[in-house]
């Protein structure tokens, strides 16, 4: 026999009561634990994929949408911009480097991105096998694309127009050819298919041409020719890297005021996203702390009534040789065991829910969660649970030590 076994037996003797208390503690801790893990995962993904990109230039529209579609590939692009205008930005003395992006197609839900060889370099991506694309219709694919689509070096496939994998608008006339597969980088690159921009232009020139010739008369053919010329010169967006900090002050304002394009700062937009989510997260946090407070009261009431019910047992333990500190430790441990039980249940539940959400986001956005553990957060939650157990059981524990042996056992 020992104090832990004795306390365990005591809380096991009232399974419904104990289960209810554990569930209450677990619910409060679970919400906090889940939110902490989710926030951690989100901020990790957002930071990692931002990869030092300082500005995104695209068609006018929602700046958040532009950032999400260009950097994180989770939203639809705001439209296209003219290549000539985009090239002008690259010539600005405040700009160190630009990377063009041309989107529009997907394969099995994985976006096909027309870009330059600089793009994978910002994620420090390395080819696991094969070589970088060197001519039109050659692609390098991310590790997730290779795994999920079973694509290998030398394989050919046709892209689907748009971002919906189930679309029937397949560009069968143009087959992409896999020349390289990237090693897993833990970034958005893992879920992308990269090619040069002219491949994207080639396919969309043809796609646009087919659409217009089917719909309109030959008398407009010359006019369409000019349209096609312009379409060939369009890209979806431009990633911009500044030459110096002054650029952050001048360049976005210049682009937004002087051109038909919009400039969006990923840092500002992500902060805006956080602040939008923040109100909801804070409300949920508040509810969680309220539940934890209720659970502390519940443990207190439970231990207090248990102490009264077990007054004979408490007196008996003293008579058998148990010291006051034995009684104090026993009662305190009961509260701590219940709150620790709540911590364990909450840890399992939060990981379980995060796993389910990870599967959902993986299937729908190709974003999974890397790690399900955060030692610092777990230690914090363990401390919260133990403080809760201690606070709830301290009064019953002290009161139990004042049990009058003679009066109680003579009743």
């Amino acid at each position: 026999m020992n104090i832990v076994k004795l306390s365990l037996r005591n809380i096991q003797a009232k399974p419904m009561n104990t289960a209810l208390n554990i569930l209450l503690v677990a619910t409060g801790l679970f919400i906090i634990s889940f939110l902490l893990l989710l926030q951690k995962q989100m901020s990790e993904q957002l930071e990692k994929n931002a990869a030092g990109i300082q500005l995104v230039v695209g068609a006018k529209g929602s700046p958040l949408q532009l950032v999400l579609s260009t950097i994180y590939h989770v939203d639809y692009p705001t439209g296209n911009i003219k290549l000539t205008e985009a090239e002008q930005i690259g010539k600005n003395p405040l700009v160190k480097k630009t990377i063009p992006m041309a989107l529009g197609d997907n394969y099995n839900g994985f976006r096909i991105v027309g870009t330059t060889a600089d793009y994978p370099l910002i994620y420090k991506a390395q080819l696991k096998t094969g070589k970088l694309w060197s001519s039109d219709m050659e692609v390098c694919i991310g590790s997730k694309v290779a795994d999920k689509s079973n694509l290998k070096i030398g394989d050919k496939f046709a892209g689907v127009h748009g971002f919906i994998p189930e679309s029937n608008d397949v560009h069968n006339e143009f087959q992409y050819h896999v020349t390289g597969i990237y090693a897993p980088s833990g970034t958005v690159l893992d879920q992308l298919i990269l090619t040069n921009i002219s491949s994207v232009w080639q396919i969309h020139h043809h796609h646009h041409h087919n659409e217009t010739t089917a719909e309109e008369d030959d008398e407009h053919a010359e006019e369409h020719h000019h349209d096609d010329e312009e379409h060939e010169k369009e890209i979806t967006s431009l990633l911009v890297f500044y030459k110096n900090p002054m650029a952050a002050l001048q360049l976005p304002r210049h682009i937004n005021q002087e051109t038909n394009m919009q400039a969006a700062s990923p840092a500002i937009e992500i902060n805006r996203l956080y602040s939008l989510m923040g109100i909801g997260i804070q409300s949920v946090h508040l509810i969680a702390y309220l539940i934890i407070l209720i659970s502390a009261f519940s443990i207190f009431i439970s231990l207090y009534s248990s102490m009264k019910e077990r007054k004979y047992e408490i007196a008996l333990i003293r008579v058998l040789g148990g010291r006051k500190r034995t009684i104090f430790s026993m009662m305190l441990l009961e509260g701590l065991l219940i709150s620790f039980g709540g911590f364990v249940v909450s840890t399992i539940l939060s990981r379980g829910l995060l796993y389910v959400i990870s599967i959902y986001t993986e299937n729908n956005f190709h974003y999974g969660f890397g790690s399900y553990f955060s030692l610092a957060d777990d230690i914090l939650l363990l401390c919260i649970s133990l403080i809760l157990g201690f606070t709830a059981s301290i009064i019953p524990s002290i009161k139990a030590t004042h049990t009058n042996l003679s009066t109680t056992l003579a009743e």
Binding site: L6, Q12, I317, V319, L320, G321, R323, A410
Partner: protein
Amino acid sequence: MIQIKNLQFAYNSQNSFVYPDSVFNDNEQWLIRGESGCGKTTFLHLLAGMLTPTAGNIFINKLDINGLNASEIDKYRGREIGIVFQKHHFVKSLNVTENLSLSAWLSGKQVDKHEIKQLLDRLNIAHKQHAKMNELSQGELQRLSIARAVLNQPSVILADEPTSSLDDKHCMEVIELLRSVAHSNQSLLIVVSHDQRLSSFFGKQVQLHQAKQ
């Protein structure tokens, strides 16, 4: 050995129990008799250190237990005194063996499961060693109380009205059992009871009288 000197106890200013000076030697078996309300249970609680005398002294093995602090008394009681209560008090969340293990653990003595099993065998309740308290009959609970009182081989065994609710047959069984285990443990046995049936079992007796008004 227990020695009582000028022992008095009062719950309030009106009633005061005055106990005769006595000496209870090792291996002896005593019956403390008296009517209800004469302070028998109080006397037993004083001997066990559960109450502090208003006046006088109690020496157990020449140690004045009134000079000990609460923690020392708890420790001393656990090691040296075994008590059979009038009501059967046990820890309900523990089974038979665990209740006995608890007693051994609290007293700080090393008692293994084999010894517990032997004791339960001797008291004919070994078949209930894994039973919960609510699965035991009154007779079995009484035997278990005795088992717990003698488990740590205390120098003193105190029993409070151990036969009050028993018929003649069971009364005789219980008192013989108590006397037998006390004798084999070489413990001093002090039984407090108003049960007249016990008079014939004890050669040494003390009669208590009603409290002074």
